[in-house]
């Protein structure tokens, strides 16, 4: 009975096949949403079975497996799928190729489910490549737009590179262990001591391509010309695949020395550079694109320090947040153009119109909440043993700073006047991170990896010195950004500083000239 969950990756294919024979625009989304609800039901059932039996469900032919990682992520993807399909129903109504859009959307969801549930390496490769292909078709959906198809091509070429790296990693793994089944490989990696350095490095590089980590990031910010639901799916689902695959193969890193350090270094660079470039971007979709690049840097960095489950938590939370932003971005653009006939969204009312209505009582509540949160944070640090294990405290301190830094910079750009509010938000956000980490993060760790999570932290091989350097580097970046934003806005004097700042600003605005290089490479300049 529990094998009914293996229908999940096939259901979107069935939907696509059904849509092929339906011409009514009203029926297409209804069918799509109805079957997506079935997937949600099956995911919930699978998760229930996980809790009940505490064992992964593996298909008879060993091709598919529904484990703890899939139990969390299939549900997440299924819910995301319903939201995107519902949104697309009206949004895509007048577009040429309504039917084609829904078919492609279902193909991409099928690839994601296969990737989550595949147990045979060939099936994982199939899903990995299928994802690149479906993404390409969706990005190039407006096939008569030259820029959409060109950036679609760049995306596909980069992803093809990622595919080859991934395939090579799989070839090396199979030739080493002579088994294509991930369930067997996990046991082997947990028990033995093998030299899998190169396979793991190739895997990290492939994940970096899919997750748009620098220097493979250029495909993400420039592919927003596709329909908005596609952008939402891309930023909430596709880019996370890097983190998902690293989690799926997490135990390989128990047999490596440097692969996770590589992920940490590239993740760190991406987190900072991505966030800095985001602040200089003139249009909302590209800014959101670079914001995602920065967030993916955090995610890969989390994997790099051994906090695999934290990366899963991060990708889900970021996915929900970024999908919302994208689905709202169209509204924001309309508001900015001050079109009178469009109704105002809830977020617009809250953040822009009601900003001045904050009264003293509310400020008092915020201050009280902040005090409680800060006190709780201090107690967590001092008393909880879990947080001092395996540099966990340092890890989330670093991530606290990183997240706060990005929040800080973003808030500063949105509202330059409310500095006190921003500093309060910064402290609250950091305290919330501690709070969430100590409850959800650790719960995730235990649910996904049991006691093995300690081994993963040890495999990260991260020295205390390196962590301190990273934290100082992040602090420096935050202060530097504040300096940059403040002087560019308020300073009347200091012409030399201003000129210097404008040079850096230009460098960031030009995306470190990387975009021009890529366009030249693909002969698009």
């Amino acid at each position: 009975m529990s094998s009914v969950v293996f229908l999940i990756p096939f259901i979107p294919l069935v939907i696509a096949a059904l849509i092929l024979f339906i011409d009514s625009k009203k029926v297409i989304p209804k069918i799509s949403i109805f079957f997506s609800l079935v997937i949600v039901g099956l995911s919930i059932y699978g998760t229930y079975q996980q809790f009940k039996t505490n064992q992964p469900i593996i298909s008879e032919n060993l091709l598919l497996s529904f484990d703890r990682l899939s139990s969390i992520l299939t549900l997440y993807v299924a819910i995301l799928g319903i939201v995107i399909r519902k949104y697309s129903t009206k949004y895509m109504w007048d577009e040429v190729g309504y039917k084609r859009f829904f078919i492609l959307l279902n193909f991409i969801f099928s690839s994601i489910y296969f990737l989550l549930m595949a147990n045979h390496l060939l099936l994982i490769v199939m899903a990995w490549i299928g994802l690149s292909l479906s993404l390409y078709y969706l990005i190039s959906f407006r096939s008569d737009s030259k820029s959409a198809t060109y950036f679609g091509s760049i995306t596909l070429w980069l992803h093809r590179l990622g595919d080859l790296l991934f395939v090579l990693a799989m070839v090396m793994i199979i030739s080493k262990h002579n088994t294509p089944y991930l369930s067997d490989l996990k046991e082997i990696w947990l028990s033995g001591n093998f030299d899998l350095e190169w396979s793991a490095i190739l895997l990290v590089l492939a994940a970096m391509v899919k997750s748009a980590v620098i220097p493979f990031h250029i495909w993400l910010p420039y592919t927003s010309e596709g329909p908005t639901p596609v952008s939402a799916l891309m930023h909430a689902g596709i880019v996370n695949v890097g983190g998902i695959i690293l989690n799926k193969f997490a135990y390989i890193f128990l047999n490596t020395e440097y692969a996770l350090n590589l992920a940490f270094i590239f993740g760190l660079i991406t987190a900072i550079v991505g966030s800095l470039i985001m602040l200089t971007m003139p249009d909302i979709k590209r800014a959101l694109g670079y914001s995602t690049v920065g967030q993916m840097g955090y995610m890969i960095m989390e994997v790099g320090v051994g906090a695999f489950s934290l990366a899963i938590y991060h990708l889900m939370v970021h996915g929900i947040f970024k999908a919302t932003l994208f689905l709202e971005s169209g509204n924001a653009v309309h508001q900015a153009r001050k079109e009178p006939n469009i109704t105002k969204s809830v977020s617009y009312k809250i953040f822009l119109e009601e900003e001045n209505k904050l009264n003293k009582n509310l400020n008092l509540v915020i201050i009280a909440l902040t005090t409680v949160l800060v006190l709780y944070t201090v107690i967590e640090f001092l008393l909880k043993q879990d947080l001092s294990n395996y540099y966990a405290a340092l890890i989330f301190l670093a991530f606290g700073w990183l997240a706060s830094f990005q929040l800080f910079s973003t808030f500063f750009k949105v509202s330059k006047i409310q500095s006190v509010g921003i500093i309060l938000s910064l402290i609250i956000s950091f305290s919330i991170i501690v709070l969430i980490y100590s409850f959800l993060g650790l719960a995730f760790e235990k649910y996904l990896y049991g006691e093995n999570y300690k081994k993963l932290f040890e495999a990260a091989n991260l020295s205390f010195g390196l962590m301190v350097v990273a934290v100082i580097f992040l602090l420096f970046s935050a202060v530097f950004m504040w300096f940059l934003s403040y002087y560019s806005t308020f300073s009347e004097n200091g012409e030399k500083i201003k000129r210097w700042i404008s040079k850096i600003y230009k460098l960031l605005y030009e995306e470190l000239y990387y975009r021009k290089f890529i366009l030249k490479l693909f002969k698009m300049d």
Binding site: N61, L63, V96, G97, R100, H120, L121, L122, L123, V125, M126, I129, G130, L133, S140, S143, D144, K146, T149, S153, L156, W157, R160, L164, V167, L168, M170, V171, M172, I174, S175, P180
Partner: protein
Amino acid sequence: MDIYISLLGITLVIFSIFSLYKNYSFIRVLVLYVLANSPVFFIINEKMYYGLSFFTTVGLYLVIVEFIKKTYKTDVFLGIEGLVLSSPKLSIFVRVVLLMMANFPPSLNFSVVFNYLLNSGLSINTIYILALLMFNFMIFSVMTNRLLFGKPNKNLIYKEPDVRYIILMSFLSLTNLVLGILYLLSL
């Protein structure tokens, strides 16, 4: 023996990559594809499956080219861009044949070649197959951009294939795709 075949294969792939550059003839592209891919037949274990994938791909390609030649009186893929918007039915089959040529899933070409690649271990054959995959992908990329995407040509009257063509194309496509899926399920 395999080493010599793979070395020959690598040479043919390099030659084909250079020849593909600015080559817009349907038949020449097919010749290059056959030239670069045929050595696989001699190194792969599952010759029957590979043969089937190869012949269905070449067959479908030839049927599509025959239709285009008959309809547009041309044997090059220039000037008939924008098929996705102007001839949706034909564009589905063009997409399918290009996916098959570039070894994309779930075609039989993907299943057979990737299964061989994963299980062959690291050798000169791996390099040949990886180079071949890049070449096949180049064909996919060039023809997708030239034929499927872009604005439809205003000076051209686009036509969809008639029932006979559709039945033939569907048969070849479905044979390849269904066998590809069955192959995966039989692993």
